[in-house]
């Protein structure tokens, strides 16, 4: 075999006929090579493509996770609170004007005045106001009996106490 660099043939065998393949043989090989080259994606290219996709997925995943972590740790929330002018007890105000102030407040903030504790206190205040008014009429009509006056003072004391509790609720 003249064209085989690794020629281990004995001398007698080297004289045997040699055969050359037809030209069409290479054409078949060449066309097959061209066909497979056009459809074949090199293994290295596959590897690179897979690695690129994995890298993108990893980056997106890490970014997403990091964003979530940031959102969880530094949560900023917004809320809106409608402020109403707080009621304050004015010592110089009369008990009547303080009661009137609470009535006005309840018109604006019905939600606060509907609370059971508040309603209970308000009910006590109304009863005391009514008692105060009745006793005042009696004292003005008749002579001021010391017992009535003492009772009147006690009622006002109770009213003051209830008013204080109401203002605490507010």
């Amino acid at each position: 075999m003249k064209d085989n660099p690794e020629n281990k043939q004995p001398k007698w065998a080297q004289n045997l006929p040699q055969y050359t393949p037809p030209a069409s043989s290479w054409e078949v090989i060449e066309s097959e090579l061209r066909r497979t080259k056009s459809v074949r994606f090199e293994p290295r290219a596959w590897w690179l493509a897979a690695a690129s996709v994995a890298l993108v997925v990893l980056v997106v995943g890490v970014f997403g996770w990091w964003t979530t972590q940031q959102t969880n740790t530094e949560k900023i929330t917004y809320s809106e609170e409608k402020l109403t002018k707080p009621l304050t007890i004015n010592a110089s105000q009369s008990l009547e004007s303080q009661s009137a102030q609470i009535e006005a407040y309840c018109i604006k903030r019905a939600d606060v005045c509907q609370k059971p504790e508040f309603k209970n206190l308000k009910q006590q205040l109304d009863q005391l106001n009514a008692a105060h008014q009745e006793l005042k009429t009696v004292i003005e009509t008749y002579n001021p009996d010391p017992n009535l006056v003492a009772q009147f003072v006690q009622i006002d004391s109770d009213r003051t106490d209830v008013l204080r509790k109401i203002f605490e609720e507010i």
């Binding site: 064209d3 085989n4 004289n15 050359t20 393949p21 043989s25 090989i29 060449e30």
Partner: protein
Amino acid sequence: MSESELITGCEAGNGIAQRVLYDRYKTAMYTLAYRLTGDFDDANDVLQDTFLEVFKKIGQFRQEATLGAWIKAILVRKAKRKFKEPKNWVLMDELPSDARVEDWLSESIGAEALERHILTLPEGARTVFCLIEIEGYAHAEVAQMLGVSEGTSKSQLSYAKKKLKYAIGQSHER
């Protein structure tokens, strides 16, 4: 172009390198393919399959053997597909396996006549004779390539030599 340049070129899918490699080995491989199959069309199929695999797997060539030997091993594997199942090759009567062809091959017989006699051998005997006596493989290598025992390889070779010797003797008598 050196062998390593050829390999690098083929690995990169360079068409010129592929063509040069094909031209360098085509005759030797086609001749072997023809001797193994005994048919030009089959030899052509084997040659094409062989080179397609060579170009596809050239990156796996580790240079433990020469490139020619590597291609030849692929070709024998491809040719084997054209054979009947080698394991079914019939065991022949053995001659002394060290009987060298040169000892009984008459110089008077022409190379082409010898080739004709070789091609008339049965498939198993012809294959083993070609691989061992012409290509220089050892029985162990042939046994491994063809998937047969060394005993089968030896008996097929003995039968081939016996048959050839007889055929050559007959042709001299005519």
